[in-house]
Symmetry: C2
Subunit: 201 residues, 2 copies
Amino acid sequence: MKSNNVQWHSSIVTRARREKCNGHKGAVVWFTGLSGSGKSTLAHAVEDYLHSGGCRTFVLDGDNVRHGLCADLGFTDVERTENIRRVGEVSKLFVEAGNIVLTAFISPFENDRSSVENILSPGDFIEIYCSCSLAVCEKRDVKGLYKKARAGEINNFTGISSIYEPPRNPALCIETDVSTLDESVKMVIEILKRKNLINFA
Amino acid sequence: MKSNNVQWHSSIVTRARREKCNGHKGAVVWFTGLSGSGKSTLAHAVEDYLHSGGCRTFVLDGDNVRHGLCADLGFTDVERTENIRRVGEVSKLFVEAGNIVLTAFISPFENDRSSVENILSPGDFIEIYCSCSLAVCEKRDVKGLYKKARAGEINNFTGISSIYEPPRNPALCIETDVSTLDESVKMVIEILKRKNLINFA
């Protein structure tokens, strides 16, 4: 760490005060899976449900991170790792602020996901695997990226020219090529209730 | 920008919905000034006031950023610029989430502060200059850093071996070697009220 001479002192407004004010706990709900597996769609749908229930939430995904905080990073292994590291650190800040953060990144490497879990407090990291066959993701190809990757126009594309390491022990595995969006949202909400992060019906 | 093939689509839960839910607007209150000028103390005191009034707030400062998101950065001009760029991008996300973000960084370069203002929507950046003479900051020397800088143990130390460019047109200039903390908090709150970001008494 290059940042010597920087002391940590805790905020007067603590996480506990924020959570009491919000009526729920902070946490990171980490969606991982192939491009096209439905991570972002599910994250936003869960957020909508939680927000309607009065929760303080935020979705971090490629759309709002890759254009801003990580606009200097590409998609090599090293850059993906740095991307996920930064997302982890920002998630930690949002949790400290009392939010339920929903992240939607391919996050293909197990080590990177573990590193995020390790900077958070125990219980703050809830890993959800959006499991969907490459064939289905490629057939959907909402953004036309698989076609480009197959044509060699995009390098380091997960599933085609870069590996994906599925979570070994996720809090939840959703087969997004089988479950509907509504069913998937309910599964996520059930997990959050079971972990006592939220308490509404 | 290296992040091609990433499309922007807006969240279902909009900033407007979050602000309505919170009862106040989102904004970045950007404190700038020399080390020891009281930025962090003031930011936390303002946060305490706002939180007690029911606002959703968060303080970003060296303490929670330099150890995490920016732990890979030192204090050269280039690294300071990247540090402030990242803080700006994180602030933007917090504002999008409906928060009043209070940032406490020396942020010595006018260009860096302008860059942050420019990535935000008009009116979202409120610059507050904590004006305090180098002599007073050095006399306080809470963290013992000025002593180290004078002894040559710290390089690129603002005010000693690195320049500080004061804001030309801040929303507010507080002489923190003259005003008390309570007076300073009141001045900041008045600005936020005048800008219709908050509406409590």
